[in-house]
Amino acid sequence: MKSLFDRYPMKSGFDEMFESPGIPRPHYRRLFERLGNVPLKDLRLKRKQADQAFLRQGITFTVYGDAQQTEKIFPFDLLPRIIPNTEWQIIEAGTKQRVRALNMFLVDLYGEQKILKDHVVPRDLIESSEHFQKDLVGFCPPKGVFIHVSGIDLVRNHEGQYYVLEDNLRTPSGISYVLENRLVMSQLFPNLFSDMHVRPVDQYPAQLLENLKGLAPLGKENPTIVLLTPGVFNSAYFEHSFLSLQMGIKMVEGRDLVVESDKVYMKTTKGLEQIDVIYRRVDDAFLDPEIFRKDSVLGVPGLVRAYRAGNVALANGIGNGIADDKAVYTFVPKMIDYYLKEQPILHNVPTYLCGIPEDRQYVLEHLGELVVKAVAESGGYGMLMGPSSTKAEQDEFRKKILANPRSYIAQPVVTLSHHPCVFDGTDTFNIMGRHIDLRPFVLWGEDITLSLGGLTRVALKEGSLVVNSSQGGGSKDTWVLYGDE
């Protein structure tokens, strides 16, 4: 029988869905059988419906630097990514272990700084980072939790081995896509989910809300919780409104809040109302013009005073940026050993720190083979992809590295695993492999819990290894199975 996947060109590297041409891996077998019979023209229609659904709901992001302020949808690929239970358990244990160690690292850094005194992490690496908030040394947030919400970026190499590419411990976004992708998928293919044994994803907002409630200053029975957004022009604005709606809390902007006597209030039609917990989606630098960027109009003057006085709880804590710095990343396996006395379950991608002379020399000699990243940048900006770079680009990065070595790291190119994706060309509509990653979301409340699945991002450009939405990435629904098939 003819199948949709007959003409799928398997490439070298690790294919998530197929063991060999025409032979799906066990956990993809049901999907292969079910979707194999769907005519291409039906898929084309489904794809169009999906795009319309995202646009109508305003599930869009704004491209920075675009004068038109164009709202784009984050392209959605119809073929889901499937993770069998055994694999998921490794991911779950590995990310939890990592977040525990990173949180202990933050408690330590903003406290006794034992890890620096023991020379496990170099002091100058920490103190030279703009993300280290010196003013907050000596302050421990409620219950010693800094990392209430994190997103850990994982990739798989050519052998299917999982690696951690990046920890996102500040204001990670993407969970709204996880939930919306599932919703759109179930609307487009209502029959697909039966007998598939897919674990649901939609408990996330309730779990987050419960965790936020737990942060309220003691004795507050019905704490007032809000989500603080930078506003409609932020690229993750949809997510902010989505989560507020899902949790039934108010979404506020900095201009809606005011601090009086170290307490935070929102301005309402009936006067001022006190706030107990803020799920903030505004970066540290913009949070409070009294101590961070003076020109910030997104924050609230005095917010940090209120936070330190214990009158308001913030999630995430302030100063997390020092722990997801791309250079500090290198030390996470050592942190796991230092704080937990455990072996890391998930591995790091080998990383060269340009701040270290030997590493720097190696990087400068191998620019054409490595990925160079600016430690302060995110979202796929400020990167050099060695193998596809021009001589001029390499020279430009050479200068940058020499001018400011601490600001750059380099990693060997990981040939990311690929996954079949549906493409609508001008005269062809077919299925081709594209590179993917995975961002599970980790919540820290009474316990540490994971989103069931996470965001699978796809580098939709042929050959591209960059999955960020701002760089032409898309996403997929991600299924975690109850079992392994």
């Binding site: 305003g58 409104s241 989505f242 709606l245 005011v258 301005k267 309402t268 006067g271 109009v297």
Partner: protein, 337 residues
């Protein structure tokens, strides 16, 4: 409710009502007048309309002479006119976007669809079927009101939305009546163009059919004025909107009795009483135009007081107020007469 949320609801109401009125007015006048009126009469009517809505100067800067074709472009799709239909719907949608967490998803999706449907329109669409485009806007505004009414919780957001709508509506109806043909109680429309002006005034308020139920089909200026100004059950009469405005402000104020709130209640109550107990004799002895100018002035004051009472919550000093991170609604303020 957050002050900013309340203000957004208020402006969604105003923008949508303004778009609806604009679409209806332009549709009615375009079809009635292009067929019958002379070029000069058309220019007079459009000029008065643009002057009333405060758009004349902007129009003249962009287009110069008042011509039907240019006016139509200006009030429908023009990107530089903040009160063009495209921009009004964009303003409503932008306000909605900022308070998505407070809207039903039906409202947000509907308004978003509306925005995209209009954003795609070009002058080619406008000239291919002007009537269709204007009807689309008008009907979609009606439907949006229905989606709001059918899905929104009856909280302050809903009240502010209706408050914005009623204040806008009252002002627009008052401006419709302020035309020469209606200004003398004894005038009878003799020329066909005068007859059509009367008809257009009624139809622009979607009031022709309702008027006929009460006064037969005979178009008598005095009766038209009475109907559009004083009718107690027609939802677009000025009186009806002032009653609503007053009730809504009372409802929103609830138990709070700050001085700004009391002032807003008092002003809205006074205007509602003026219209409830007003008479045609009084209107004509004051002069129709002068009377309407007073009404508009009062609407304007109420609108300002509502902003002071509910949108600029006290408890912080003006100097600590951060500058606006994104533009306020682009609607030009109600024009002072």
């Amino acid at each position: 409710m957050l002050s900013r949320t309340a203000e957004s609801f208020f402006w969604i109401g105003r923008s949508i009502e303004r778009a609806e009125y604009t679409a209806r007015f332009v549709n009615v006048h375009y079809h009635l007048l292009t067929e019958i009126a002379t070029g000069q009469e058309q220019a007079d009517i459009w000029s008065r309309y643009l002057e009333d809505t405060g758009e004349l100067e902007a129009y003249q800067t962009l287009y110069g002479d008042v011509l039907t074709k240019s006016v139509l472009e200006f009030v429908t799709l023009n990107r530089d006119n903040p009160d063009s239909l495209t921009n009004l719907i964009a303003a409503a949608r932008n306000n909605a976007r900022g308070i998505q967490d407070q809207l039903s998803s039906e409202v947000w999706h509907f308004l978003n669809d509306f925005y995209f449907s209009l954003k795609e329109k070009t002058e080619i669409d406008l000239w291919a079927d002007t009537h269709d485009l204007l009807r689309h806007v008008r009907n979609t505004c009606y439907t949006l009101d229905g989606v709001m009414g059918g899905t929104m919780v009856r909280d302050d957001g809903w009240n502010f939305y209706r408050l914005g709508k009623n204040i806008e509506r009252g002002g627009r109806t008052a401006r419709l009546i302020d035309i020469p043909i209606l200004s003398e109680p004894t005038t009878e429309p003799k020329r066909i163009s005068e007859y059509h002006q009367c008809l257009a005034a009624l139809k622009s308020a979607s009031a022709f059919e309702a008027y006929r139920k009460f006064y037969s089909a005979q178009l008598v200026p005095k009766k038209i004025v009475r109907f559009l100004l004083f009718h107690d059950r027609f939802p677009r009469s000025v009186r009806f909107t002032t009653t609503q405005t007053s009730e809504l402000i009372e409802l929103i104020a609830g138990g709070t009795r700050r001085s700004e709130t009391r002032q807003a209640i008092r002003m809205a109550g006074a205007l509602a009483a003026d219209l409830e107990f007003g008479s045609l004799e009084e209107v004509y002895s004051t002069g129709l135009s002068a009377f309407l100018a007073q009404v508009l002035e009062q609407f304007d004051q109420i609108s300002n007081m509502v902003a002071q009472a509910f949108f600029r919550t006290s408890g912080y000093s003006e100097t600590s107020l951060p500058s606006e991170p994104h533009p306020k609604p682009t609607l030009s303020q109600v024009q002072q007469n």
